[in-house]
């Protein structure tokens, strides 16, 4: 009996010691970048960027319209991209007056995953349940429905002239994805930090 108690004790002790993991939403933020290694970034110097961030598209009777991010939220994100581009020696130009070397396209998307589970919880009240001679299931079973939403900021760079292909579209030269849990507090510093990190880990974008 002593051995059984010791065994149960040690297993339950261990159970209570399951290691920790991420504690804050920032802990799971990641920044991914990749680039086309045949693209000559250093030989370019000007860029154009829209003053709005696309978050969705709506298709109604074949007409496609863009949905844009609230300007108050978009402004600090666009400003951060401008600041990082400027620090790497790029100058912003108006595409209406002259042709930019590259275009920078920011987009933001949200994705919600809903999951659903249920289980039958068996009788439990310590070991007494065993000695009681019967143990069974509660009815009805528990149902849980839960969801999480992730948000991504995607920034792409492409040369608008490099569209010499059958579909007349430019291949992306650089892409950055900042991804994290979307918690609805609109903490824009998580996004601007991701942008800073995206440029920090992409030193090949430097033209100066």
């Amino acid at each position: 009996m002593k051995k059984v108690i010791m065994g149960v004790l040690s297993i339950s002790l261990l159970w209570g010691c399951k290691p920790a993991g991420p504690e804050f939403v920032e802990d799971i933020d990641v920044v991914y970048t990749t680039f086309d290694d045949t693209f000559d970034f250093a030989g370019k110097g000007t860029y154009a960027m829209p003053d709005q961030i696309v978050t969705d598209i709506e298709i109604d009777n074949g007409d496609t319209t863009f949905v844009f991010m609230n300007a108050a939220l978009a402004a600090p994100i666009l400003n951060e991209i401008d600041a990082q581009m400027s620090a790497y020696g790029w100058s912003k130009i108006d595409p209406a007056t002259s042709q930019p070397d590259i275009v920078v396209m920011p987009a933001a998307i949200k994705s919600t995953t809903v999951y659903y589970s249920y289980w039958y919880d068996w009788w439990y009240g310590g070991w007494g349940g065993w000695y009681g001679g019967y143990w069974g299931w509660y009815y009805p079973p528990y149902y849980t429905v839960s969801s999480y939403t992730t948000g991504s900021l995607i920034i792409t760079m492409a040369d608008p002239d490099a569209n010499d292909n059958p579909i007349r579209e430019s291949q992306t030269a650089w892409i950055m994805v900042g991804n994290g849990l979307f918690v609805g507090d609109y903490n824009v510093s998580r996004v601007t930090k991701a942008i800073q990190q995206g440029f920090t880990q992409s030193p090949y974008l430097k033209t100066n």
């Binding site: 002790l13 290691p19 290694d37 999480y148």
Partner: protein, 197 residues
């Protein structure tokens, strides 16, 4: 009839206190990763247990089995991981669960004395489950390593049937499978109780 039963019971109790039939230990286990495991998680593991049962075939030789569980965990600060043209930055959460399962033998140097040093060897397998968590994803790798487990320790008799035990085990799991490309090994310091009967 009653007398015979009593006689049998007494003789059993008598022999058990004179000469142990089995030696079972329950220990708390602290793990220190070595080699590939030590590089993956540098921090020591303070989450572990170990159980060893040995049937005494002679006064000083026990044969039995062992089962253990150590969980290694480390939170890495945000860092950038680059492969080819791609870079990924974020925090990593690393976990390694190691479960050594052995058939083992132990040789006791001073059976019946208060301080009883011993050494032993276990042969078996170790289940390794390694998780590398980043963002909402986990990279899960597992292996069933062939295991050699030398052990050295001391049992200190508290009374006829109970002893305090401290021992060091080195778990060496040979490279196995294709998911983990190196041997998995760690040193375990086990402290606990031994029950003799």
């Amino acid at each position: 009839m009653k007398k015979i039963y009593l006689g049998i019971i007494f003789s059993l109790i008598y022999t058990s206190s004179l000469l142990a039939q089995s030696n079972t230990t329950f220990t708390y286990s602290i793990g220190f990763g070595t080699g590939d495991l030590g590089e993956f998680v540098q921090a020591a593991s303070f989450r572990g247990v170990s159980v060893d049962f040995r049937k005494m075939v002679q006064d000083n030789i026990g044969i039995g089995f062992g089962l253990g569980w150590n969980t290694f965990y480390e939170e890495l600060a945000s860092d950038t991981y680059t492969q080819g043209n791609s870079s990924l930055t974020g925090k990593q959460y690393r976990y390694s669960n190691n479960i050594p399962i052995t058939l083992s033998t132990a040789y006791f140097l001073k059976p019946g004395e208060t301080v009883n040093p011993f050494f032993g060897l276990g042969i078996g397998t170790m289940y390794t489950l390694r998780n590398t968590d980043m963002n909402l994803y986990t990279l899960e790798q597992e292996a069933w390593n062939f295991l050699l487990q030398p052990e050295i320790g001391i049992q200190y008799m508290v009374n006829d049937i109970t002893a305090l035990t401290i021992s060091g085990k080195f778990n060496y799991g040979f490279k196995a499978g294709s998911e983990l490309d190196a041997a998995q090994s760690y040193f375990a310091l086990n402290v606990g109780f031994a029950f003799l009967n």
